[in-house]
Symmetry: C3
Subunit: 481 residues, 3 copies
């Protein structure tokens, strides 16, 4: 490689504010939490990766193909998703050469990611985990690919070893209510494995009677739970049953990816009537919508009983580009956010359960307009409500700064969820948590330098954000506020 190849370097002060007085304070705040373990109470790492501890196949299948944050931008620059291994396996002809070529496409389009968090995370992964020292480009792609490939064959780069190196204390996966959770049982029983890997109850497809697959899924729910789901009462009982099963396997939360946050409470007779109609395929769109919104409220009711923290991730138009969805399926990069309303939408739910002592509701959003207008005011009154940290498109430095700026003044720090990485990009987990710590240090430094908060309290606040908030909000036990 030529001597003029630009280097890849991680500056120790990265993401800390420019102003010298703020940077100095930020450094101290960041240093105080830099080495703390990672608590990841919501994410999408496949549990089998951890339980089977199989070496990762190659750089592309680890870093590119499953990460729609990366593939979407390459698609925007004209690279077909199929060239990136999306939805393909070696058996489908996505062989070594194809994987290497995909990696080359990423490196060739490195400049497309300037100013994005994807670039920031990837740099941390390349330099921090794999020891890459040159900037990705068409010229350096092969060498970098070879370097990562070599590492992936080493024992230190198998999933469990990485998890240990990353300092992950808790990792939540996202799971189907009918899942056996056997991988979680295996991991829990393994005394040689220190991390806690917990499942998360994600029942979306069982709760939306408008989906063509809904009735078959409700049948399966009956089979797995051993409770007849032919009636509304059985359907409710089966859901309660599977939630308790998840609790017994260590779950701490139930997650809901819904198009809107509207809740209603139907009379049982009405819910039952619509359920029957939906099972018979005769329910109207208004009816299936009403039942879906009712079931979201039912999930809150069940949370009061079984203690699962309720998290809501609304407002994304999934599979916006139908041709891409038809060819590649979901989660490949063409999900686009829409505006979401929370204040009126959640009122029925919060009137019923908002002050229940066993209830916790974490509200996420990609629609930033609701932070100061709706979410912070809700979290600043209801003891059950916490504002989730920025998610997906807005899990990014400038957006996280806006989040703290728009939420803190009404809800403080303690009514926020603690950082959540929400990622399927396993190797990006430490980079994401580290980014959050740096940004919170930067935000707090502004309060300190403007004499709005003494530094000793800022040190407590950042420690809480990293450790106490996720533990408290997600009922993880251990150190608490």
């Amino acid at each position: 490689m030529s001597t003029t190849t630009p280097p890849l370097e991680l500056h120790p002060d990265r993401l800390l504010p420019a102003d010298p007085s703020r940077r100095e304070i930020s450094r101290r705040l960041y240093e105080s939490v830099r080495e703390l373990p990672i608590i990841s109470p919501h994410g999408h790492v496949p549990p089998s990766w951890i339980s089977e501890d199989t070496p990762f196949r190659d750089p592309t299948s680890l870093l590119i193909s499953p990460d729609h944050y990366i593939t979407r931008m390459l698609h925007a620059h004209g690279v077909p998703l199929s060239d990136l291994g999306v939805g393909r396996e070696p058996g489908d002809g996505f062989d070594d050469a194809a994987a290497r070529s995909a990696f080359g496409a990423l490196c060739t389009h490195w400049s497309a990611y300037r100013g994005t968090p994807v670039r920031y995370w990837l740099e941390e992964e390349l330099a921090g985990i794999f020891g890459v020292t040159v900037r990705p480009s068409a010229e350096t792609a092969d060498a970098i690919y070879d370097q990562i490939s070599a590492k992936l064959s080493e024992p230190d780069f198998r999933p469990r070893a990485l998890m240990d190196a990353f300092g992950i204390e808790v990792l939540a996966t996202t799971d189907d209510p009918c899942d056996t959770l056997d991988e979680h049982a295996t991991l829990a029983a393994d005394t040689t494995f220190a991390s806690r890997v917990v499942p998360t109850f994600r029942p979306d497809k069982y709760l939306d009677p408008a989906l063509p697959t809904w009735s078959a899924d409700v049948d399966r729910l009956g089979e797995v739970s051993g409770i007849d789901t032919g009636t509304y009462a059985g359907y409710i009982a089966a859901l309660e049953n599977r939630r308790r099963y998840f609790v017994s396997r260590g779950a701490v939360s139930a997650d809901h990816g819904v198009i809107d946050a509207v809740t209603v409470i139907l009379e049982t007779a009405e819910a039952s009537r619509i359920f029957d109609a939906a099972r018979a395929g005769t329910a109207t769109e208004d009816e299936t919508t009403a039942l879906r919104r009712h079931m979201l409220t039912e999930m809150a009711r069940m949370s009061c009983a079984d203690g699962l923290v309720m998290t809501i991730h609304p407002g994304v138009r999934r599979n916006h580009h139908t041709p891409t969805w038809e060819e590649y399926g979901p989660d490949v990069g063409c999900d686009i956010p829409i505006a979401v309303e929370y204040t009126d939408a959640l009122r029925p739910l919060l009137n019923a359960y908002g002050t229940h002592p066993n209830f916790t509701l974490v509200l996420f959003t990609i629609d930033e307009t609701v932070y100061s207008r709706e979410l912070a005011p809700l979290a600043g009154f209801y003891p059950s409500v916490y504002v989730g940290v920025p998610w997906w498109f807005i899990d990014a430095p400038e957006a996280i700064r806006r989040f703290r700026s728009t939420v803190t003044e009404t809800a403080g720090f303690s009514r926020t969820s603690g950082f959540i990485d929400d990622t399927r990009a396993f190797c990006s987990i430490p980079a994401r948590h580290d980014m959050s710590r740096r940004l919170d240090a930067g935000y707090l430094s502004e309060l300190v330098v403007e004499h709005r908060l003494p530094e000793d309290e800022a040190l407590e606040a950042i420690h809480d954000l990293v450790v106490a908030n996720p533990r408290t909000v997600f009922k993880l036990g251990g150190e608490s506020r």
Copy 2:
């Protein structure tokens, strides 16, 4: 108290920007307006406090119980509102011990307010008014309570003496259209009292036929005005009568707390028909909504005639948590904002009265999205329209910075209202006005240091914001632009 008790200190540079060149300029700008009198053209201090000049009972009933900014956050942290004296009096068993305990709850949860303006204001009140020198905590709560209690029994801490010490030149209260305004008359007649205390016409409940209390309130309006409100014409005449009465007692504005800003102009016959139906209890929801929106436009028409400045505070879902409202009534902390539209909503009103030379309309919002999109463009064309400063949840440092950043480029400084504290927390008034002056100094310093505005003009601009804008916009006379 141990020697390690953290101190409570007010730094002279608080809230000024970190960058040394900006801080230097900010200091000069802030110093130029620091001592100017307070003009408070919209607020919620009970006029009886001033007219009767009764000593405040105890720290809790002064600082905590009536201030939903404070109680909401304690509620979110699990403290029942009843423990904070909300809706309770000594006669209801909220005795000295209970008041002390409530104050202890605030001090114990002091960390919950980190990064909030409530914390900032309270620090100014504790240190600046009451001379507290230690940080509130469970350990220091009693001593601080005793210190404030002792002060409250001194003559210098009675309402009028405080008002004088605060430098309040004008204080507007918020009043019911049927109020006699006798307290205002008493104060106006008192030549020993220098401040000007003016009433504000707030007719919300007389203008919404959907309220169950509306018809009885309209009856009472008839009694007080001496005009038969059995007809629409009488209803209008009675409102005009009471507005003139308010003007005669010194009122300069009429305030409207509405759920949305939609205006319509009904034909008189149609308005009259709906009025009759609403009085008879037979109006539909569409009809009562139409009449409510028509009446907002009628208020604008009356403003053109009697000169009362029209202020609109829309977009808050009041009493979001019904059980809390049923137990404690309104204004206890569970009001949550919603999105609001102004451009199309106000078009009928502005087409009719937007260029009337006697009309002034100040538009407030908690929905920050409208600052750059709707409010600044409206205020940048209509001679009658001014953008109200941030209010309620967004009367806070970061939000005020966003306000200037999103409004100034389209509407300049002169099309904004001047600072308004909108508070029922009497002792927070100077802290709030001072906060605004510091933040405006900081905003202007950015323009100066980036060579977008010469410093001599920035000095003029901040003086205008503090003095000229509120005087001009609220027709207060005296020095003007």
Copy 3:
């Protein structure tokens, strides 16, 4: 003039960030692009100004009367639009004295523009183009007016000379589909004129069957194209014909100013049926709306065929104040933005054409909420979609900073359009482009100083923003990325 008259000075560091480390980097970045030619792919300069090269009549008709950015604010301060020459000519009695008086009104209200980009641009124009050295005020107005008047009679201040001095390489005008584009042909044929002046196809009024003028305009379209527009098929063919004519005269884009961005695709038979009803004057409002939205999608289809870049500028309630519109016509300062939705609205269009290799769609907005929520995600997936830079009210320093902050993290730099001035204020063109370059330098400096981007890449990025992005996005040829 007295020796105390405040000076008007342009500081070389204007708009660069305060922090010394950022300012230093910003300077280097800005210097690297400061002298690059201006590419202006969307604007409203009348082509006759350039083709006829007539000297500008006076300062007011050049700088004030046609610029609604300026006239709106003076109107808000009580100056009648007629006093500013809006809609008036010398023949209407707007003589020299009136023009001078209008200029005096601007100078007298100079403080109203503090903190606005209008003030910033005007200072650059006055000082940078006309050599004015004193601050505008009531006292200095006449002298400044005389100074500019004198310049305007010099050959160096005729339109073509100014265009050359401004360094304008490409200038797009905005034109009616029935226009002959003769001025563009004249300019293209003139070998003594170096700049490229290209027309833009702007068919709004031909595409909205709800307009009272629509049917007559469609008739005219038939005449000009020579294709019978009595049928839907003819109407489509005539539009295709005129687009091809525009392409033959150098057009690179078609622009669409629509109230919303909703698209639908009607069956041809249904579109044809509604077309016939609309021509007969019997179409319902729902039908005309459907046809308007269908026609927007048809424009995308035609763009795939003829290659014209499609630009959409939605979400402005035109002529908000009806009395002003009736007296002065459109574009005089009373257009007010509204909220706009893009994700669901554009889905039919993007499902049909979003991945077509010949399609480019640039989405503009004044509703800033959509940058992070909708536009950046769309541009970060669809190869055809680019985020347009801030426009109109938000073509301003703080808003442009928010734009980069909300768009870059999801879409990077390369999925944005490059700067577009969109102005009818000819002399403001260089100031606007220069402002953009300074602000982008400032934004990039933050990435550099926070170690998120190496400076060599920041230099490449700003060069791309100034040169490569507009060339690529608007298919202008020449240097590309």
